[in-house]
């Protein structure tokens, strides 16, 4: 189908009063020779009818809409045919700049020029839908998380393959006498839901359970993963849920807390086993009359687990309540540094207080075993060392170690170096940099990916994901982690987490089959295409892809796995020969958009500064600045990009050689606590930028002309000030000598 561009300008929301719409029409009709219409309310029925009439008549297939931000009214402008291109005249022009001003008008005209140029460059993406797509979900791990996921996925109509390493289902939860309450009034321990769940899973025909097996090899991509199990069987699955859970921290390392000195010094796991057996007794066979729980045993301790496992406090509360229930005369102490009872477990804490459990704030400094056990507590509330004893039992509340690897399998040499520290490979001075370390054990899925067999993990060993925005996502598309392998959590949270991972799996299965991207560019049909004739086999794309979507073939050429791709364009920005492109997103397109802007002569004293803004955070933050009517310099021209990672250095040199006085890059915070939606796109941009000074020197330009700014979506009030400061700084350097060349 031939592409026919038509522009539509809206004069509503004050655009008509603040701008000369006739002049804007002139830009389209004279400079681009395209039809243009304006309407006083384009998003209304009458306005939409104008566009629809042209499209139905076949005069226009790709509308360019000059109105509000592309982030609003998306449902109104959802038109048949190509996705409309939106020029932002409202939030980023008239709401953030004075009405009727010459500079405001110039900004609006340049926005139209950029978007008209974009329209001439985009093509309708052809989605990847080759071959068969499986709808089966593989669940790895048959504990509470895995069983819940399997059960929920089958309820949603999917076939499930559940693989458990041990001979029996249940995992850690099989040993629980009761669980921390997840239902109101959150007062008493709840019965363990596991036996019923196992029963249900075993009775479900659409769930195939394979016990005593692990995953030997995984290749392919979402919708078409090829999985080989240790029993030799092979399966094709659409998505994978990783529910390998946790293992308790090795208590033999806790000899400083008396573990091993007496059989009556036990871990919380051992105490749970006693409770499950029915009656808690000491080694001597009597019921304990005085029991102390030591919290944070080996947790929040740089020599052991540096993190908080979040559930140990509520587990101790539960066990303490059970002990006082069994015998109200028992003296139960909980020695804590901070009581951490997130959410509704605060109610459970109250319940334990009502039951008469005594909470001692302080650190257990010594555990001695003589006639009875004595724990010396540095009591923070009494400001003295208190010898607590004689005690009949001591319970060490140990934390969770994620099963991000299979501890029973041999470690693989290859890929281990990629496990850590790759989020922030180029840290700035003072940035937190995790030590590159390899957790013991072999890969869980043994991914046959260019970027190694493991799922990338955080410094503490938990599976890496965009923690706040997309918690279930791992950095391998189509593989979703749930339960304690992702972060420490209790059974109630695991239940929700498993359901979330199932929903994510269903999303990826359905999207992949249609060639759609999954989050954050949901529905994007494009995917990277590589012109191998120009490829130099430099491998930057295969190494830099945050999601491991690009493999290498036997000739070292890159091979894109389209359904693994999240469409950030980091490969496109990385490619030194610019041979990677999307149907609707190319370096050439961005470069043409940059050059489409009118650069006034030096003597007009109107500098032009290019702002390359990340679409996920910086661009909406700039919109919000407009919504709040924060004013900023009209000399900037905003170029939205999918991710700062997709920014090729060519854009900067093109901008400077075509007369822009400076370039500001606005992206998400890189580093270990990254906010980048594509994990390390902004880190890659930062890295590329560190090389720009040579380019600038070769052009005999000042380094100050190019700056990178961290922007979060909440920076609407801050960014206008940042822009004004940087514009002033660039202005002080003086006009770009390339102007007018």
């Amino acid at each position: 189908m031939e592409k026919k561009i038509g522009a539509y300008l809206c004069s509503g929301c004050g655009i008509g009063e603040a701008l000369d719409v006739k002049a804007l029409e002139g830009v389209v009709s004279k400079e681009f020779k395209k039809p243009v219409k304006s309407h006083e309310c384009l998003c209304g029925e009458a306005g939409l009818a104008v566009i629809k009439a042209d499209m139905e008549a076949g005069d226009v297939t790709l509308p360019v809409i000059g109105a509000c931000s592309p982030r609003v009214m998306t449902d109104r402008f959802m038109l048949p045919g190509m996705t409309p291109i939106r020029a932002n005249l409202r939030e980023q022009v008239i709401w953030s700049h004075p009405a009727g001003d010459e500079d405001t008008q110039m900004m609006a005209e340049d926005n139209m020029r950029m978007m008209m140029t974009m329209a001439t460059k985009v093509n309708q993406p052809v989605p990847f839908t080759e071959g068969e797509f499986s709808t089966t979900i593989l669940v790895v791990g048959g504990g509470y998380a895995g069983l819940t996921a399997a059960s929920e996925a089958s309820k949603a109509g999917h076939d499930v393959l559940l693989v458990e390493k041990k001979a029996a289902l249940g995992g850690n939860a099989a040993g629980y006498a009761s669980i921390v309450p997840s239902k109101p009034p959150y007062h008493d321990p709840q019965p363990n839901p596991l036996p019923k769940l196992i029963e249900g899973v075993n009775a479900t025909k659409s769930i195939r359970v394979i016990t005593g097996a692990t995953v030997a090899k995984t290749s392919g991509m979402p919708g078409k993963f090829e999985v080989e199990l240790s029993d030799g069987s092979t399966h094709t699955v659409g998505a994978i849920i990783l529910a390998t859970g946790f293992r308790p921290y090795d208590a033999t390392k806790l000899s400083h807390l008396g573990y091993g000195a007496s059989p009556d010094i036990v871990t919380n796991v051992e105490m749970e086993a006693k409770l499950k057996a029915g009656k808690v007794t000491t080694k001597a066979g009597s019921s304990p009359k005085a029991v102390a729980f030591i919290q944070c045993a080996g947790s929040r301790d740089p020599n052991h687990l540096p993190y908080c496992s979040s559930v140990c406090c509520s587990v101790s509360l539960k066990q303490a309540i059970e002990l006082t229930k069994a015998d109200p005369e028992t003296m139960v102490y909980v020695i804590y540094e901070e009581m951490r009872t997130p959410g509704t477990t605060e109610e459970f804490y109250r319940s334990a207080q009502e039951a008469g459990v005594i909470f001692m704030k302080g650190k257990a400094t010594k555990v001695e075993n003589g006639s009875g056990i004595t724990v010396t507590v540095a009591d923070e509330l009494l400001q003295q060392d208190v010898p607590l004893g004689p005690l009949d039992m001591v319970v060490l509340a140990t934390g969770m170690v994620p099963n991000s690897t299979d501890p029973d399998a041999p470690a693989q040499e290859y890929g281990a170096e990629l496990l850590t520290a790759d989020i922030n490979p180029y840290p700035a001075e003072g940035d937190y940099k995790p030590e590159p370390s390899v957790p013991p054990g072999g890969p869980l899925l043994n991914l046959q990916y260019r970027q190694g067999p493991h799922l990338p993990m955080l410094a503490d060993g938990f599976s890496d994901s965009h923690y706040i925005c997309f918690p279930y996502e791992t950095r391998r598309t189509g593989i979703y982690a749930c339960g304690p392998v992702r972060r420490p959590m209790d059974m109630g949270e695991v239940h929700e987490d498993a359901m979330g991972a199932v929903l994510k799996s269903i999303q990826v299965i359905r999207n992949a089959a249609q060639g759609h991207a999954v989050h954050p560019r949901v529905g994007d049909l494009s995917y990277p295409k590589i012109n191998l004739n120009a490829c130099t086999k430099c491998r930057r794309c295969t190494v830099e892809c945050p999601f491991g979507a690009i493999d290498e073939n036997e000739k070292d050429y890159p091979v894109v796995n389209p359904t693994r791709c999240r469409r950030c364009g980091t490969c496109m920005g990385a490619c030194p020969v610019r041979t990677i492109s999307f149907d609707n997103y190319t370096v050439e397109m961005l470069s043409s958009m940059v050059k489409a802007v009118n650069i006034p002569d030096e003597d007009e004293e109107k500098p032009r500064i290019l702002v390359i803004a990340c679409e996920n955070d910086a661009y909406p933050a700039l919109d919000m600045a407009g919504i709040a009517k924060h004013q900023y310099s009209p000399f900037i021209r905003i170029l939205p990009v999918r991710c700062l990672g997709s920014m090729s250095l060519l854009l900067i040199s093109d901008a400077l050689s075509s007369g822009y006085d400076g370039v500001i890059l606005m992206g998400c915070k890189p580093g270990d606590d990254y906010q980048c939606h594509f994990v390390k796109g902004s880190a890659m941009a930062k890295e590329r930028l560190s090389k720009i000074s040579e380019t600038l020197k070769s052009m005999q330009l000042e380094v100050e002309r190019v700056t990178m700014v961290d922007a979060s979506i909440a920076d609407g009030a801050r960014l206008p000030k940042v822009i004004d400061e940087l514009v002033a700084k660039i202005d002080a350097v003086g006009p770009n000598p390339f102007k007018g060349f």
């Binding site: 003296m331 005594i358 509330l381 009494l382």
Partner: protein, 203 residues
């Protein structure tokens, strides 16, 4: 007289459990989460050996003697700031007052000597005997509880105030006022004592 159990080691809970079960408001004390809102809002916290927060932790720690000899229980002025602010609804003021009563009963020296205790005794004596408080009798009884010499000294020291009070008819001369049916009052008090006894508290 020993009423409450005396712990033999740190964090022996027998005294804490006695407080939970017998002290006015004590049943809410187990809900104390040691946030310190009470001590932080106490207007006279600086005049206390320990703030209420720490005193409550000492109860749990079995430090009975330290609790019942502290001046905290006597210096509370019943402003109820802490009670209003306590996130766990612990009636701190009640607990402090009843602990003070326990200290008197158990005969701790500071409880015998405490100003507040002397005044409370004088007040109660007048109220129980006449059904009213008489300024001269209450202050007299209070002053002379320190001994005859000290009583005279204190009385003379407040002479000017007393004269002014008489002048403005705030204090009268002559026989103390009494309620009409004093025997009825005695019956009521006897009944109250009986109820208190039945609820397991000492006289």
């Amino acid at each position: 007289m020993t009423i409450s159990p005396t712990p033999k080691r740190a964090y022996d809970l027998n005294f804490a459990r006695y407080v939970y079960e017998n002290i006015d408001g004590g049943e809410r004390l187990r809900m104390c989460m040691q946030c310190g809102a009470c001590s932080g809002s106490c207007p006279i916290g600086k005049q206390m050996d320990h703030g209420p927060r720490k005193l409550f932790m000492m109860i749990r720690a079995g430090m009975k003697e330290a609790v019942l000899t502290s001046n905290t229980i006597w210096n509370c002025v019943s402003c109820y700031n802490c009670v209003v602010r306590c996130p766990r609804k612990v009636p701190i003021t009640y607990i402090l007052h009843d602990l003070a009563y326990l200290a008197v009963q158990e005969g701790y020296e500071p409880a015998k000597k405490a100003d507040n205790a002397r005044f409370a005794k004088a007040f109660w004596w007048s109220a129980a005997k006449y059904g009213r408080t008489d300024e001269r009798l209450v202050t007299g009884k209070y002053y002379f509880s320190f001994g005859i010499g000290e009583g005279i000294k204190r009385g003379l020291g407040n002479q000017a105030i007393a004269l002014n009070m008489i002048k403005t008819k705030r204090m009268h001369l002559g026989m103390p006022h009494a309620i009409k049916a004093k025997d009825e009052l005695q019956k009521i008090l006897a009944k109250a004592a009986e109820i208190q006894e039945r609820h397991g508290k000492g006289a």
